[in-house]
Amino acid sequence: MAVLSFGQALRDALDVAMSEDERVFIAGEGVGVSIHYDPNLPTHGLLEKYGPKRVKDTPVSEAAIAGLAVGASTLGLRPVVEIMFFPFITLATDMLVNHAGKLRYLSGGKSSFPLTVRVKAGVNFAAGCQHSHNLEAWLAHSPGLKVVFPSTPAEAKGLLLSAIFDPNPVVVVEEMLLYWMQGEVPDGDYRIPIGKARVVIPGKDCTIVSYGGAVYTALEAAKTLSGEGISLEVVDLRSLVPLDRRCLLDSVSRTGRLVVLHDATKFGGFGAEISAIVAEEAFDMLKAPVKRVAAPDIPVPVSPPQEIFYKPSSEMIIEAVRSTVGKA
């Protein structure tokens, strides 16, 4: 077990996959040579190690990058392609949604498309709304695509490795601002099953369900609230599709209360699905309405005070929890 940064853990996953399996290659804009020279970036040094046959810098052509993955995967390769920032995935959605997610179905189960798309996400890195726009809700609403969204270095490695060797198309959302966060990471071919959530901290009074970097906002809130005698259970979904309904419902059955949190905008966000599932299936266990804490329904602004305003804060969670447990 080594201590690695989140970015290094992703790099480690790519490294393990590539050294283990010749079928794995990576492609994307700057995955070989990058304007960012930083060992905490997931593809750092892989070109030097695996050479230009397996580490492919591409033109600025998101549709072709995705098409490359779709076509190569069905001939048996294991492509891992990168979409640089989340809003650029719009340029690849035809290939991902209409092709990666549907061509197996259209073949009547004859073909498969074992590809992985890595996409960098983050709502606060001062680049504005054309670089910052979390769209995981779109992908989760697209049949045939799995979607994972890790929050720790170990999860990042374990989920990316599982994604690469999953026989289906998987999108791995990487929260960029976590790249520099350190954590213990198991060595070798460490995989975390896709579709299993994790109870980060157990608690009695209210469940917070989240994923990605937002999990840390939830943990901050939990710390403050524990000082007030309110005990939060924090659940990290890790995988949005498939979703670990069991873990979600079990947690709610224990606490009777739920706050859903994500950094994406609220209206039509993934939190709505969580809330709807619980309202549908755990209605009788709920002691209070499910609350959602999410970004306002606006593009991400650049100005620093506004960017901070945009991102859901631990104070917002605290307020939501207080009102939920009736101590507002």
């Binding site: 549709a63 390769l77 189960g109 073909s111 289906n168 498939p242």
Partner: protein, 333 residues
């Protein structure tokens, strides 16, 4: 180039295949008049058979093709079984894709017709991926992608051409310029007369061919395929041809000049090959009639097979999304 340069036996085979495509689709026309026989709108290759056959005959069985909404010809030329295609077009459980695809996006991996997409312009990026895998594994196989003149306006085609020549991928781009994209003629949707002229902008060879002359298509394809196979990278063929029927059988081509149709009907690729074989004395009228009857029998058999096949069960719709035994029930229910 003279069609006589193409081996007589091969020309006869090509003739048979073109007739198969024509008669297969004529059966579809017939069946589309009957209620609830076929599912959805039929997009026919009537008039374009020489492109499919001429190109595919230049390939090896291991080569891959990527097709589009106008796929029947490509798939039959590649060797797909008409029975399973017919059943698929009828939405039957015995269809090549269990009825999940219908006519528009049939995949026939058995014959390396791996991906068919009805997203216009979707094929080229998929072909880039397939060709990349072929190159990566050091195979000598290549990938052919068929797309229309209308598709040439999609951005995806541009991205695919640039990337494939940058990496010298073995892709043969085949633009079937059939003069129309839906109800828009070439000059109404394309800023340039010859789509082949775009090849230079990607540094790859690009050539025009009379798409209604199967021997010419075949000969050019042979040459281009060799370049792809030898590591010279992609190439573009623009085959000038014509869509003889409407875009779907409900489309009576109210927007087409009848003279244009008449002219192209004189250029029918099957008639041309037939006349040229007859005039060279390669076949007799009787032999041609035999071919016709044999093909008709195969097509009838296919129609019978499709008609008599059962529909899939409704709830089998839930299958085939995922590779493992994992239905979205786990996700959504």
């Amino acid at each position: 180039m003279d069609s006589r340069e193409v081996d007589a036996g091969l020309r006869k085979t090509m003739y048979e295949e073109m007739v198969l495509i024509r008669k297969f689709e004529e059966k579809l026309i017939e069946l589309s008049q009957e209620k609830d026989k076929l599912v959805g709108m039929q997009i026919l290759a009537n008039g374009q058979e020489a492109v499919a056959v001429g190109i595919v005959k230049a390939l090896k069985p291991d080569d891959v093709i990527v097709s589009n909404h106008r796929s029947h010809g490509h798939l039959l030329a590649k060797g797909a079984n008409p029975k399973y295609l017919m059943a698929e077009i009828m939405g039957k459980a015995t269809g090549v894709n269990k009825g999940k695809s219908g006519t528009l996006h049939m995949a026939v991996p058995e014959v390396n017709a791996l991906m068919t997409t009805t997203i216009v312009g979707g094929g080229p990026p998929l072909a880039v991926g397939a060709a990349f895998a072929q190159q990566y594994r050091g195979e000598s196989n290549i990938t052919v992608v068929f797309f229309g003149d209308g598709a040439a306006a999609e951005g995806s085609v541009h991205e695919a051409m640039n990337l494939s020549n940058l990496w010298k991928l073995p892709v043969l781009f085949v633009c079937e310029n059939n003069c129309w994209a839906g109800a828009q003629s070439l000059s109404e949707h394309c800023a340039v007369g010859d789509i082949a002229a775009r090849a230079v902008g990607y540094g790859m060879p690009g050539e025009l061919v009379d798409g209604n002359d199967v021997a010419k298509v075949y000969t050019l394809a042979k040459k281009m395929v060799m370049g792809c196979r030898n590591g010279q990278g992609p190439a573009l063929i623009e085959a000038k041809t014509y869509r003889m029927r409407g875009h779907g059988e409900h489309d009576h081509q109210h927007y087409v000049d009848k003279k244009e149709l008449e002219e192209w009907s004189r250029l029918c690729p099957i008639k041309r090959l037939r006349n040229n074989m007859l005039s060279e004395g390669l076949v007799s009228e009787a032999q041609l009639q035999t071919i016709g009857r044999q093909v008709e029998a195969r097509v009838d058999e296919a129609a019978k097979f499709g008609t008599e096949s059962p529909y899939p069960l409704p709830e089998e719709a839930l299958e085939d999304v995922w590779v493992e035994d994992f239905t979205m029930q786990q996700v959504a229910q």
